[in-house]
């Protein structure tokens, strides 16, 4: 399931010239696309160190083109000289940041718990609720994936007002859980399917109940899949904007909403915008680099048999 390196023999290459040409093409294309992927990130990070003139003149390389300055980070209250002073912007930023952390971690955790249980049940047991069998139940869960957020957004806006969940983190957590649940079930079904059923049968013979077997035998084996599902869910929740923009106003606003609302009366402060964007993407960029293996595992679950 995880992506492994495959070593191709080069016997298919016919002549040295053709070999060199193909190498040049392959590495050229790789470097070009790496540039396409990295340049916007580079631009974002460097812009947070630019002053107004450097932005409008399109200076690119720090120390050569322009003198880096903590301007963007100072406006967030996060530069070395302002970090120990009180800053309302920083307080605001940390509040939004914590909202994002709590909603995405909370929703991913909740989805993992109920999603894993459901996936396990669907893989191992036969159900029949009225005329719904396993396939129908699975389809019911997975079909939620095509439900566009906009269909639920307005009814939820009205319902959340009635139950006083508008602009609360719990409200967002519930919606995000719903959003990632089909993906979690999809990944975990694949994961549980790959565990031999004999392990649980042995555990049952040894006197464990089915829940005991699940927690003591199955869960430890399925842990990598759970991590993969958790991380993928985290990414989706962290970047979610649509529900957050509609359903939060002051208390539960998340980072993407804060980023989107950064227009001042005198146009845009590019340096502070860039600092904010950098702060918004850094956590996931770190997760992406460090836990890339799990991300790939999550994304490829069930697609390759």
């Amino acid at each position: 399931m995880s992506v492994q390196t495959t070593d191709y023999t080069v016997s298919e290459i016919r002549s040295p010239a053709a070999f060199i040409a193909s190498r040049v093409f392959i590495y050229g294309a790789l470097v070009f696309w790496a540039f396409v992927c990295l340049f916007p990130i580079y631009w974002t990070i460097t812009t947070s160190f630019k002053s107004a003139v450097d932005v409008t003149q399109g200076h690119l390389i720090p120390f050569v083109d322009f003198a880096p300055d903590w301007k963007g980070w100072r406006s967030l209250g996060l530069s070395p000289d302002s970090i120990f002073q009180t800053s309302t912007v920083r307080d605001e930023f940390f509040k939004r940041f914590m909202n994002s952390v709590i909603t995405s971690v909370g929703a991913s955790a909740l989805a993992i718990v109920i999603g894993s249980l459901a996936a396990y049940g669907l893989v191992r047991y036969r159900y029949k609720f009225a005329w719904f069998k396993n396939e129908d139940i699975s389809f019911f869960f997975l079909s939620q994936l095509i439900l566009p957020p906009v269909v639920l957004a307005l009814p939820f806006l009205v319902l959340y007002r009635e139950v006083a969940l508008l602009d609360t983190r719990i409200g967002l957590v519930l919606l995000y859980t719903l959003m990632v649940l089909p993906i979690v079930i999809w990944i975990m079904r694949d994961q549980f399917n790959s565990i031999p059923v004999e392990l649980e049968e042995a555990a049952l013979v040894d006197g464990l109940s089915i829940w005991g077997a699940f927690f003591r035998i199955v869960m430890p084996i399925a842990l990598p899949g759970m991590v993969a599902a958790f991380i993928l869910a985290m990414v989706l929740c962290w970047n979610e904007y649509f529900f957050a923009a509609l359903l939060t106003s002051t208390d539960a606003k998340t980072i993407p909403v804060m980023v989107a609302s950064q227009t001042g009366s005198q146009g845009i402060n590019w340096w502070s915008m860039a600092a904010l964007a950098t702060a918004a993407i850094t956590p996931l960029a770190i997760i992406g680099v460090a836990l890339e293996r799990y991300l790939i595992m999550g994304m490829t679950a069930g697609s390759v048999k």
Binding site: V3, L60, V150, L157, L178, N239, A260, A274, I296
Partner: protein, 371 residues
């Protein structure tokens, strides 16, 4: 609970026989009590809200608590009356109850709202108006335009697929630093679309100073305004969305390439096929099932496209870049028109359910015919 039922586990021919009647009665009692509580709370609340009684709660939140309580009682009832069968049902119940509460009820409620004239900013309140919204929708050129844009956006997936396939082939070739390139290629997927649309769409592609505009000028495009005329603006949105989502398809296709059996490729080479022939005759047909999965998943995500458009163009110029989601978003944000907006959303839901069902059928027949 586990100790009680371990005696009545899979070995018994009919576990229900081993459950004492007292336990069954307890289970039924619990369920009945919880159902009564739930119904009582709902009735009290309806009476209070319709001002037929003075006893009640300010919000409907107690109904949620009663529902959770009822869910717990339902689980207990299953375990108490059905033993191990019930314990099995317990795996499924939380997700099922959660999804039903979060999807079925709001969707039904949505269908009701769609039939009302309801503007949150007016004092008139909600008024049932039947199919008026539907008629208004049929005559709404902006909605039709948004649907047409969705067709274009979905078609763009094919271009994304070609690029993603190319990248997957590159990563699957014999190269050094494969892991480095894989991580780098994956990065755009991790970035928040909102941050991307600000920093790339508004800054990098800025008309005066953005490096992308500067580059375009160097390449001979005199007036590189990415978001001012309809066609360029659409393409810009597609490019930005593709940038974030190409890694998703690329990873799936890469996994497919690596799962392919080496023997087939060897055989093709032994038979003297060129690289070009090998790709079209062997690799591509073998990759078809993975490709179809990747493209369908991508289309499903594409149908939700909204964030980039909302932050970048707000649908402009003149609705040229509007997706259905962003159009409805503005219908609510700018005009607080809940009733009409919901009708548009529900119509969209029906359209994409039909479309995706057709797509799945078509895809499975397509894969079967080719292989």
């Amino acid at each position: 609970m586990a100790e009680q039922t371990s005696t009545a586990n899979a070995w018994a021919a009919n576990p229900a026989d081993l459950i004492p009647p007292g336990r069954k009665r307890l289970g039924w009692g619990l369920l009945a009590a919880a159902t009564l509580v739930l119904l009582a709370v709902i009735v009290v609340q309806i009476l209070y809200k319709t001002e037929m009684s003075t006893v009640g709660f300010d919000t409907w939140r107690p109904v949620i608590y009663a529902y959770i309580l009822w869910g717990i009682a339902l689980g207990a009832w299953q375990v108490l009356t059905r033993g191990e069968e019930g314990q099995r049902a317990l795996f499924l119940l939380p997700a099922l109850l959660f999804t039903i509460a979060m999807v079925i009820f709001p969707t039904l409620f949505g269908f009701y709202i769609a039939l009302t004239d309801w503007n949150l900013s007016s004092f008139a309140g909600r008024r049932f108006n039947g199919l008026d919204n539907f008629r208004q929708m049929l005559a709404d050129p902006y909605y039709r335009n948004a649907l047409f844009n969705m067709v274009l956006y979905v078609l763009a997936v094919l271009v994304e697929y070609v690029i993603a396939f190319g990248l997957a082939l590159l990563l699957n070739a014999q190269i050094r630093a494969r892991k480095f390139f894989r991580v780098v290629f994956l990065l755009p997927l991790m970035l928040s679309p909102v941050a991307v649309s600000w920093m790339v769409g508004k800054s990098l592609m800025e008309y005066r100073f953005g490096p992308a505009a500067t580059l375009a000028r160097h390449l001979g495009w005199d007036n590189p305004a990415f978001f001012s005329d309809p066609i360029t603006a659409r393409i810009s949105i597609m490019v930005l969305d593709a940038w974030t989502f190409i890694p998703f398809m690329m990873i799936m296709l890469l996994a497919g390439l690596q799962a392919m059996s080496r023997e087939v490729l060897e055989a093709a080479r032994v038979d003297g096929a060129t690289a070009w022939q090998t790709f079209w005759q062997v690799t591509f047909p073998l990759m078809l099932p993975v490709s179809v999965t990747a493209v369908i998943l991508r289309i499903i995500f594409k149908l939700k496209l909204a964030d980039i458009i909302i932050t970048l163009t707000s649908g402009g110029p003149g609705g040229a870049t509007d997706s259905v989601s962003s159009f409805i978003y503005r219908e609510y944000r700018d005009r607080s028109n809940v009733g009409y907006g919901t009708m548009l959303a529900m119509a969209y839901l029906v359209i994409i359910v039909v479309f995706v069902t057709w797509l799945l059928k078509f895809a499975s027949r397509f894969v079967r015919n080719v292989n």
